[in-house]
C-alpha cells in the first residue's frame, strides 16, 4: 500500500507538471505567433510551399484563346486549384468553387489547372459545363506545372498573394469554410 501511495503522489505531481507545461507552451506559442516579425517567415526563393515565392507559369485556357500567367505584381490574389475530371473530391468541391468565384470574382482570381497529362479533354469540357465554371480552366498538358508545384494528390489548392507569395497550400477536398477563410487570409474579407 505504501508503494501505491508513493505512486499516487507521483501521479499527481506528474499531472501538475503536465498541466503547467501544457498551459505554458500554449500561452508562449500564442504570444510568439502574435509577436513574430514578418521577415522571419519570408522566403525569397521559389518553391510550392507557404511563405515561398510561387513558381511562375504560363498556361493556355481550355478554349485555347488566351494564355494566363502567374508571377509577381498581379492585380489580385489568386487561388490555383489543381484538379482532374476523374477525381471524386474534385467533383465534390466543383460546385463550391463555382459559387465562391461567382460571389468573389471582383476580389480574387481563380485558376483551375487541369492536370491534362492524366485526363481527357472531352471529359474536362463536360466537367466544366456540368458545374458551370466561369473561371479560367488552364491546361497543364505535359504536367510541367503540376510537377513544379509538387502536386501528388488531387485536388491541391494554393492561395497566392498579389505579390506572388504562397499564403497557403491545401491538399485534398477544399470546402466553403476554407475558401471564405482565404478571403480574410489575403486581407480582402469584409
Amino acid at each position: 500500500m505504501a508503494g501505491c501511495k508513493i505512486k499516487m503522489t507521483k501521479a499527481i505531481k506528474e499531472r501538475c507538471f503536465m498541466a503547467v507545461a501544457f498551459l505554458l507552451s500554449f500561452l508562449v506559442t500564442v504570444w510568439m505567433n502574435i509577436h513574430k516579425p514578418i521577415e522571419a517567415s519570408e522566403k525569397k526563393e521559389s518553391a510550392p510551399l507557404p511563405n515561398f515565392i510561387a513558381p511562375p507559369f504560363s498556361l493556355d485556357n481550355l478554349q485555347n484563346t488566351r494564355t494566363f500567367t502567374l508571377g509577381a505584381d498581379m492585380k489580385k490574389p489568386v487561388i490555383v486549384n489543381f484538379w482532374a475530371s476523374w477525381c471524386p473530391p474534385c467533383q465534390s468541391e466543383a460546385p463550391e468553387l463555382a459559387a465562391y468565384y461567382n460571389k468573389n470574382k471582383e476580389k480574387i482570381n481563380l485558376y483551375a489547372v487541369n492536370v491534362t497529362k492524366n485526363d481527357r479533354l472531352r471529359e474536362v469540357r463536360d466537367f466544366s459545363k456540368k458545374y458551370r465554371w466561369t473561371f479560367p480552366i488552364l491546361l497543364d498538358r505535359d504536367g510541367t506545372v503540376s510537377d513544379r508545384y509538387w502536386v501528388t494528390t488531387l485536388p491541391t489548392t494554393f492561395l497566392i498573394s498579389k505579390d506572388g507569395i504562397i499564403l497557403d497550400r491545401h491538399i485534398g477536398y477544399i470546402g466553403r469554410y476554407q475558401l471564405y477563410h482565404y478571403l480574410n487570409h489575403s486581407g480582402l474579407g469584409e
Binding site: 507552451s25 506559442t29 522571419a40 517567415s41 476523374w86 467533383q91 494528390t153 485534398g172
Partner: protein, 232 residues
C-alpha cells in the same frame, strides 16, 4: 518507375515504417498486434476506396477509379472512424488490455513517423546553420524540420529506455504523446506556417492535441493495485 510499373515513394516509405514497427513489436502480444494491423489496414482501405461511399455514381460509371483515385481528409477520417468501431467491437468480444494496446500503438506510430521523417524533407524557416537543407540551388538554407522530428523521437526513446517504465501499462503512450506534442510545439517556432485558428497553426493545434491526449491518458494509468510494485 520499374519497367512499366510506377512505385509510389510515399507508400514504399510508410510500408517500410510499418514493417519495421511490426518487427520491433512482434515479441509483444500477438493478438493485440494483429488487431492493430487490422486497424491500419481498415484505415488504409477506406483511404484508398472510401471515395466510393461518397461518390458511388462516379465509381460505377468509371470502375477504373478504384485503381486511379485515392482519398482525402474525409476518407482518412472515415477510415479512422471505422478502425475505432472495429476496436470497440473487439474490446467487447475479447478482454483487451487497453494499456498494452495504447503502448503498442504509440511505439508503432513513432517508429513509422521516424522512418517517414528520415525520407521526406520538411523545410522550416531560413537558417545559416551548417545543417540547413536547400531546395533549389543551395544558396539559401532552411531548418530541416523532419530531422528535428527524428531527433526528438530518438531523445524520447532514450528517456523512456532510461526511465525503465513497464511496457503495457499505458505509460509509454502517455509519455510519448505528451512529450511529442511538447517537442513539436517547440519545433514549430522554426517552421512558420499560416495561422489557422486562435493564433495557432494547424501543426500547433495538432501538437496541443497530442499533449492533451497524453495528459488525459494519465487518468487511465492512475490505477494502482496492491500486488503491483511501483515501477515509476
Amino acid at each position: 518507375m520499374l519497367g512499366g510499373i510506377a512505385f509510389n515513394k510515399v507508400v514504399l516509405v510508410y510500408g517500410l515504417g510499418f514493417l519495421l514497427a511490426y518487427l520491433v513489436l512482434r515479441k509483444q502480444d500477438r493478438q493485440l498486434l494483429s488487431l492493430l494491423s487490422h486497424m491500419v489496414l481498415i484505415t488504409l482501405f477506406f483511404y484508398r476506396f472510401g471515395g466510393f461511399f461518397f461518390e458511388p455514381g462516379m465509381y460505377l460509371k468509371n470502375p477504373l477509379l478504384f485503381l486511379q483515385a485515392s482519398g482525402g481528409t474525409r476518407e482518412w477520417l472515415t477510415g479512422i472512424l471505422a478502425a475505432t468501431v472495429y476496436i470497440v467491437v473487439m474490446k467487447n468480444r475479447y478482454a483487451l488490455n487497453i494499456g498494452k494496446l495504447a503502448d503498442i500503438s504509440a511505439v508503432g506510430f513513432f517508429i513509422i513517423m521516424f522512418v517517414k521523417n528520415l525520407f521526406f524533407p520538411i523545410y522550416g524557416d531560413k537558417t545559416s546553420l551548417p545543417w540547413g537543407i536547400s531546395i533549389n540551388d543551395g544558396t539559401q538554407l532552411y531548418h530541416p524540420i523532419n530531422l528535428y522530428y527524428c531527433l526528438l523521437i530518438v531523445i524520447l526513446a532514450f528517456i523512456l529506455w532510461k526511465s525503465h517504465e513497464v511496457f503495457g501499462k499505458g505509460r509509454y503512450f502517455t509519455n510519448l504523446m505528451f512529450y511529442w506534442g511538447f517537442g513539436t510545439i517547440l519545433i514549430s517556432h522554426l517552421n512558420s506556417q499560416p495561422i489557422k485558428f486562435l493564433y495557432l497553426t494547424n501543426d500547433q493545434w495538432l501538437s496541443i492535441l497530442f499533449m492533451l491526449t497524453g495528459a488525459l491518458f494519465t487518468f487511465y494509468t492512475k490505477g494502482c493495485s496492491v500486488d503491483e510494485p511501483s515501477s515509476v
